[in-house]
Amino acid sequence: MKRIVLWFSSTATAVVLLFSFHTSTQGAAAGVRNSAAAGVVTSGGTTTVTGTSADTRYGPVQVRITVSGGQLVSATAIVYPTGGRDSEINSYAIPVLDKETVAAKSASIDSVSGATFTSQGYVQSLQSALDQAHL
């Protein structure tokens, strides 16, 4: 359980990094969807893990993953700031989250080498998160 929580904080951190990269001059978000209770739910062969909400400068971010048969099926930000410039950030950040999850999984890689920038940091955090979850 502790491992899962760690995993989650990594993923949440990753999202936070993306948010911080596209620096917005705007303050707190205009609106935020209600957060869900953190925890693990197993149904059939599928486990859904909901992370704790992480506060970012734009507002709270909360991430949920689904694991089935030992494979990461999806990673989704279920709570994120909305409104103004932040919507642009979200429309960028969230598809990347799903896409990279799939890319990292399909290539069965252990690590990623790339030019240092924040999205790259995200990739690594996700990869590390995958390892912590033993996927």
Binding site: I109, S111, V112, S113, A115, Q124, D131
Partner: protein, 250 residues
């Protein structure tokens, strides 16, 4: 058995993956804490963003007793400048000494000394620069990020020792230039260099990115992603784990 750790240090996530029967052993966990302690120390000494770091104090013209680490990094920066015929230079155009281009990989590689002698394979990733050690002989698979699509990978290489470093400007625009000529880098989308030392690979990746592949040293091989998305490699580059010793590229 695998275990990994991630900490945000020096402005980037630094992740460490341990693999092997002892990956969850307390000794490994303690060694990893020492790795991160090393990296925190390096940040305290070399961060240009910390007013009390030795680098900041140097920049302010303060006179103080230099640490052994500062002397070592100064010497390595000088060596890197010579090795690359000026394509790597730790001095900014306005004369400030900023070794950030070398410190990250130097500190990462140095910190892995705490992992020697343990019965685990390890892979340390410092913001995109990767160094691995595999006593088992089984390599790690390192994806090379696509500079035109940060979510994609252009190649996967397997390595059981040494470092892999990538230099590029995809996300931040042109921020690198050739210190010798002052010309902005722009010939490649990214350059990845692999070889026995991560620190040297990092220096060479930066130098090759701002100039060209003639700066590469013997034992270091490169994969280039061009601006049009095509790729090329040096003759000795291999995606598998075979040990390559190629003739000097220059």
């Amino acid at each position: 058995m695998k275990r990994s750790w991630v900490e945000q240090l020096m402005g980037m996530p630094i992740s460490l993956l341990a693999r092997g029967p002892d990956a969850r052993d307390d000794r490994v966990h303690l060694a990893v804490q020492q790795v991160y302690a090393d990296l925190r120390d390096a940040d305290a000494t070399f961060s240009p963003y910390r007013p009390d770091s030795e680098v900041s104090r140097l920049a302010q013209g303060e006179v103080f007793e230099w640490s052994d680490e500062l002397r070592e990094v100064m010497q390595l920066c000088d060596e890197a400048e010579k090795l690359t015929r000026g394509a790597f230079n730790a001095r900014t155009p306005d004369g400030v000494w900023d070794p950030s281009g070398l410190v990250k990989s130097w500190a990462a590689e140095r910190a892995t000394r705490h992992l020697e002698g343990l019965r685990v394979d390890w892979c340390l990733n410092a913001g995109g620069d990767v160094v691995v050690g595999c006593p088992s002989g089984e390599p790690f698979r390192v994806g090379i990020q696509d500079p035109h699509d940060p979510a994609g990978i252009v190649a996967v290489i397997e390595r059981s020792s040494g470092g892999v470093a990538t230099s590029g400007t995809a996300a931040r625009g042109a921020h690198l230039y050739d210190p010798a000529s002052g010309a902005a880098a722009g010939g490649y989308a990214s350059v990845t260099v692999a070889g026995p030392s991560l620190r040297v690979a990092d220096v060479l990746a930066t130098a090759a990115f701002v100039r060209d592949l003639t700066v590469l040293s013997s034992g270091y091989e490169a994969l280039v992603v061009h601006l049009d998305g095509s790729q090329s490699t040096t003759p000795g580059w291999t995606n598998d784990n075979s040990v390559v010793s190629s003739p000097d590229w220059a």
